[in-house]
Symmetry: C2
Subunit: 296 residues, 2 copies
DNA sequence: GTAGGTTACGATCAGCGTAAGTATC
DNA sequence: GATACTTACGCTGATCGTAACCTAC
């Protein structure tokens, strides 16, 4: 059964004659006649009775018309739904973001998205960058918000693309009253003797790389990728650490002081999605919203 | 939305890759790829994510797949139903027949049809030939069983075709004990003085034409197109008449005697249907059954 | 190398239009 | 003659195949 012919047949049935159907379709009469002939040959049955003032459906024709109507309805529904998705009048976008972004810029971005496209369903999944990339790779998330420290090679799995969406300065975090808390200019070299609190795996690597460049190996006593825990450890004088600005925006323990370190490069923020997803309106809108939330 | 492309897309989704879909379809990979590209362009959305070992559906793709599945199901259902009608594994045929046929050959034909095609739904409508033709013309019956007396022009409305299916001898019906009831050979001329019982309009015209040819005008006292009534009138000695053999087979009043009249031509029996209906299997089967019932 | 996919382009065939013919009113 | 449809046939264009190329593993 050829669906196209079925739709032509439907027009014949609705118009009441082959010629009328041809006029509606913008075709000539023989073109429509041929379609009907093919359909009847394929069905092995006459579908219409040719009468002087038009056609009349046979039993087979009435039966087929029911199917043709259902077909047309389906096709329209499909087109409508595709249009809704293209116009962002529906659909879902799933964001995977690391915690400090999930507590700051991502909610802001989601709020922007909700305002711009109320019908869009936005969902947040919390995941550190490596897991976030995996979620996108396997299709459980549409967009990952990730970071990469300066000097760390930032590569994404093949098939994915990363777009820079901003930077996140890295601060030195000291307990209130620390010797360097009020110094004019902070230098890592002056902290070689301190004890350190490390963060996530990649943050720890970044810290070690920086200290090595400054001429010492940091004495890392504790580690936590939870910025609330890290600040608490620091506030209790158990060590010092580096924390990104986003983490300090998400939560700032009053017992700690954050200092800018000259020469300390910010970490880069990216959004990552499948290469093809860059043409999905919902993903594009989400990317714009994340970028605007960071810029705003 | 192009239905054909949708079905190709369905195959892609089911196969898990464009190449696999191409193999199933017996096409090359680029052919399938093009279909997908057109579909994505028309939808304005990516439908699949191209991954190293095949494709993965996007949200739009999953949505569209649902519609494509529904479409395929419909098309199969339509084909199945057309096939059932073509194979006489379903469907309806409506017969319009005049009373004496409806009481004799048509039930026999319906019985034959039921035996040959148990799933076929056969319906009988009783109607004198002119009305039967009208029923077929307007589509309320598929097949008319009609008769035409010898010498009567038998024409059917345009668009309809008539097929001869047999003959029905016309008998002279006399009350038992009538002078001619036991004669060696009956001659209409010997009945010029009798009173007559006429039948339906066309039968009356036929009777008058026969009598005129025999040299007299019949003294018609009563008329009834009901053969039971007519025979009752004759049995009571109120007149004599002509009745077709089918009417006598349907009902024979023991008070009447039927005689063959040499030279009296039988009436012709036809089945009539729309020209196109001649290719409808159910109608063809019904025609065969009527013909076989008359011949058997 | 193998597997999956795309782009570019040529060739073929489905399908529409034109023209001519049939039938009914 | 007007309307409805079919048949015959030519031409165009959608669509499929071939060839060349890209990417990932």
């Amino acid at each position: 059964m050829d669906a196209h012919r079925l739709l032509v047949f439907r027009q014949i049935a609705r118009s009441g004659s082959i010629g009328a159907a041809a006029r509606v379709l913008g075709w000539t009469q023989p073109a429509v006649s041929q379609h009907l002939r093919h359909l009847e040959r394929q069905a092995g049955l006459p579908l219409v009775l040719r009468r002087p003032r038009g056609i009349q459906l046979t039993e087979a024709g009435r039966t087929l018309l029911g199917h043709a109507d259902a077909l047309a309805t389906r096709l329209h529904a499909a087109a409508d739904e595709m249009n809704a998705l293209a116009q962002l009048e529906g659909g879902t976008v799933r964001l995977a973001a690391f915690p400090s972004a999930g507590a700051t810029v991502v909610p802001a971005a989601m709020s922007l998205l909700a305002a711009r496209h109320p019908a869009l369903d936005v969902r947040l999944l919390q995941a550190e960058p490596p897991e976030a990339l995996e979620l996108v790779t396997v299709g459980e998330a549409d967009l990952a918000v990730t970071f990469a420290h300066d000097g760390q090679p930032f590569t994404v799995p093949s098939g994915l693309v990363a777009l820079p969406v901003g930077e996140d300065p890295v601060r030195l975090v000291l307990p209130n009253g620390h010797a360097q808390a009020e110094a004019a200019a902070v230098d890592l070299r002056s902290l070689a003797a301190d004890r350190w609190i490390a963060g996530c795996e990649r943050c720890t690597a970044h810290l070690e790389r920086l200290c090595l460049a400054a001429g010492f190996t940091p004495d890392i006593r504790h580690g936590s990728d939870d910025y609330v825990v890290a600040q608490s450890l620091i506030a209790h004088g158990l060590g010092i650490g580096l924390l990104p600005q986003l983490a300090l925006e998400a939560f700032h323990n009053p017992g700690v002081t954050a200092r800018e370190v000259p020469g300390l490069r910010p970490r880069a923020l990216h959004v990552v999605h499948h290469r093809e997803a860059g043409r999905t309106p919902a993903v594009r809108a989400a990317v714009r919203a994340v970028r605007d939330a960071i810029a705003g």
